[in-house]
């Protein structure tokens, strides 16, 4: 910083004093300042996003969360109002329903799958398989979402599209088009993405259940499955919940993969439609921001997109508080997660 000013001695003196051993107070002050800087960025993020989102929330009120018409048309009108006045009318119900549906299905399936997989890794897997599975789980958690999206859109979507009969496509013609990209596929890939995260959290907690508890049960003649299910999983239940909550947060924020495979039209799949329901497209909240990213230059559109971001931010914060609360009972047992 001060290297460009060799003529004045003050910056050089300041630099030289930096190289001397730092006193404790100075170190504490410097490290604390960095920590406060990070905190300031977080606070700044919340304030910035909400201030930008404010017009959309004040114009719509609680109707923002309601169903006030076709979301695609609303967004188009916000983008090109055709009048001098900016239009803010927006009801995100379809997008929220799409988010709830994909996230709920993925987490609901994932929680069962991940618990069983974690039990398998910790207790039943032969050492050879366990040595393969543990790195496999961390690998699956590390695969970038865009690769999941690519496989989904190029391999799985055409396959699922082939399963939909022409009759079924005609039955909803004019409302939505049934391609292979639908909420079921989105939920499936989402589950594949969050299961490794949940499995890792649950397996870690299962490993830390006091050995005396499980051995006590085994000594009473309980079989290995029952020991795992009634003692270990019961003791690690807070970790199961915490894992599910963290996975929900991850699923809520997933934008790119969902933008690629969920079908891209803001439609609320209706369970009344029977089997067709499973083939209906949707578009979750986060994916909507990706879809309309070119519209960020338009103030009204930006306000709408930032309001979506604000809702995501608040949900993510609520979920991380939820995970923190869910983990509290584990501390009682001395299990660290």
């Amino acid at each position: 910083m001060a290297a460009g000013a060799p003529t004045s001695s003050r910056p050089m003196a300041a630099l030289a004093s930096l190289r001397e051993p730092w006193s404790d107070r100075r170190t504490e002050f410097a490290l604390g300042a960095v920590a406060c800087f990070v905190l300031a960025i977080v606070v700044g993020m919340v304030v910035f996003v909400f201030s930008k989102a404010w017009p959309s929330f004040t114009e719509n009120g609680l109707a923002w969360f309601g169903d006030t018409g076709n979301v695609n048309q609303q967004l188009d009108r916000i983008q090109q109002p055709g009048t001098a006045e900016p239009v803010y009318e927006f009801g995100a119900f379809d997008l929220i329903w799409g988010t709830v549906l994909t996230t709920g299905a993925a987490v609901g399936f994932g929680i069962v799958f991940a618990t069983l997989a974690a039990v398998f890794i910790v207790e039943f897997a032969p050492p050879v398989i366990e040595r393969i599975l543990t790195p496999t789980v961390s690998l699956l958690a590390a695969v970038p979402s865009v690769i999941y999206g690519l496989i989904g859109i190029l391999v799985l979507a055409p396959f699922i599209g082939g399963l939909v009969s022409d009759d079924r496509k005609e039955s909803v013609a004019g409302i939505v088009s049934l391609t292979g990209e639908n909420w079921t596929l989105a939920a499936f890939i989402l589950a594949l993405m969050i299961i490794p995260i949940m499995t890792a959290i649950i397996a870690q907690a299962l490993r830390q259940v006091p050995r005396a508890w499980t051995e006590g049960a085994a000594a009473l003649g309980v079989n290995r499955w029952r020991v795992m299910w009634t003692i270990s999983v019961r003791a690690a239940r807070p970790a199961v919940i915490a894992g599910a909550v963290l996975a929900t947060a991850r699923a809520l924020g997933e934008a790119i993969m969902l933008a690629m495979v969920s079908g891209g039209s803001a439609f609320a799949p209706n369970p009344v439609d029977g089997i067709t329901f499973f083939f209906e497209p949707t578009r979750p909240l986060a994916a909507t921001i990706v879809f309309y990213r070119e519209g960020l230059a338009n103030p009204a559109m930006a306000a709408t997109l930032y309001s979506i971001a604000a809702v995501l931010l608040v949900s993510a914060m609520a979920l991380s508080i939820g995970a923190y609360i869910a983990k509290q009972p584990l501390k009682k047992y001395g299990i660290r997660t």
Binding site: L31, V49, I151, I153, L192, T199, W229
Partner: protein, 324 residues
């Protein structure tokens, strides 16, 4: 921590016969096996399919040619710019995240007073960890479109700040890596027994000197783990790239200053290249998308392998280090 536990007798193999189990328990056991094997199969099929597609389409010239905007796929060039973009973004993002993260972790574990502020900082890091990257991306857009940060990106004639540049994207990327670095470093610091610090104080070292000479060298493997995890996250993120990096196919420098013009310019990475060349983006170049995705997967695999090596090596090393 496992080190405190006394030596456990090793459990012998399965001596129990399944025939005494109730059938519900047998079904449950079968489900466990199915779930475990399904995870292996899923990972193997993803890896093998990407390897098959990747080896089919990756050519040496593809890796070193610069892309062109040609719609004709035989002349659309290679993926040199996206590869370079991923490398620069990952390195810059990590270079910003690691010092910040280590300082925050040191302050939290070693000082952490006033306690209220420490709790706040802790939850702040949690909030960053939970924030979707798409939200970070559009937060970055408002932040860097402020006129006082205009020097970090391209400013138009009318004074409008574009807000998209390599340096802006890496600042936001560093926020993605930050919680991982903080978490890993804290874990490492917490696992250093208190008597190590006390020994250092007893020799007359100040707290600052203890941190620099004793604690930091000891947590180096933890910092490395966090760094590699963070690099994997940065290399794999798409949302910040397509919104904050400008998402131009080529690396487009702004201005004349060498190096600085690249930092304030726009570009693309492997993730945004895959997204744009998939049916979801504009281009329909599946071969190119597969090839880029394969390269990306290799990068992530290598980083994952590095983490496994560090974690595997440091466990043994650390328990020896302090118990000698």
């Amino acid at each position: 921590m496992a080190t405190a536990a006394p030596q456990q007798p090793k459990r012998t193999g399965a001596v129990e016969s399944l025939s005494t189990w109730r059938w519900t328990d047998r079904i449950a056991l079968a489900l466990c096996w199915i779930c475990g094997i399904a995870l292996c199969v899923a990972a193997a099929s993803i890896l093998l399919y990407m390897a098959y597609r990747g080896l089919q389409y990756v050519r040496p010239e593809l890796l070193f040619d610069r892309p062109t905007g040609e719609p004709d796929q035989t002349r659309s060039g290679g993926i040199a710019d996206p590869i370079l973009g991923t490398m620069m973004l990952t390195l810059l993002g990590t270079a910003l995240a690691v010092p910040l993260g280590v300082c925050v972790a040191l302050w939290l574990v070693e000082y952490g007073r006033p306690a209220g502020l420490a709790r706040l900082v802790e939850s702040g890091v949690e909030v960053v960890a939970g924030t979707p990257s798409i939200v970070l991306a559009i937060f970055g857009l408002i932040l860097f479109q402020q006129s006082w940060l205009g020097w970090l990106s391209f400013t138009s004639e009318g004074g409008g700040v574009f807000g998209r540049s390599l340096i802006n994207a890496s600042v936001m990327m560093s926020l993605i890596a930050l919680p991982l670095v903080v978490g890993a470093t804290r874990e490492g610091l917490n696992s250093i027994p208190g008597h190590v610090r006390e020994a250092s104080y007893a020799l007359g070292k100040t707290k600052a000197a203890t941190i620099r000479r004793v604690l930091l060298p000891a947590v180096r493997p933890s910092i490395a783990t966090g760094t590699a995890l963070g690099m994997g996250r940065i290399a794999g993120d798409t949302a910040i790239v397509i919104i904050l990096l400008g998402n131009t196919l080529l690396i487009e420098p702004q201005g004349d200053a060498p190096l600085w013009n690249v930092l304030t310019g726009t570009g693309s990475t492997l993730t945004s290249y895959v997204y744009e060349n998939s049916p979801a983006g504009e281009g329909g170049a599946y071969e190119k998308a597969y090839a880029a995705a394969f390269v990306l997967l290799l990068v992530v695999l290598v980083l994952n392998f590095v983490v496994a090596r560090i974690v595997g090596g440091s466990h043994a090393a650390r328990s020896n280090l302090w118990s000698r």
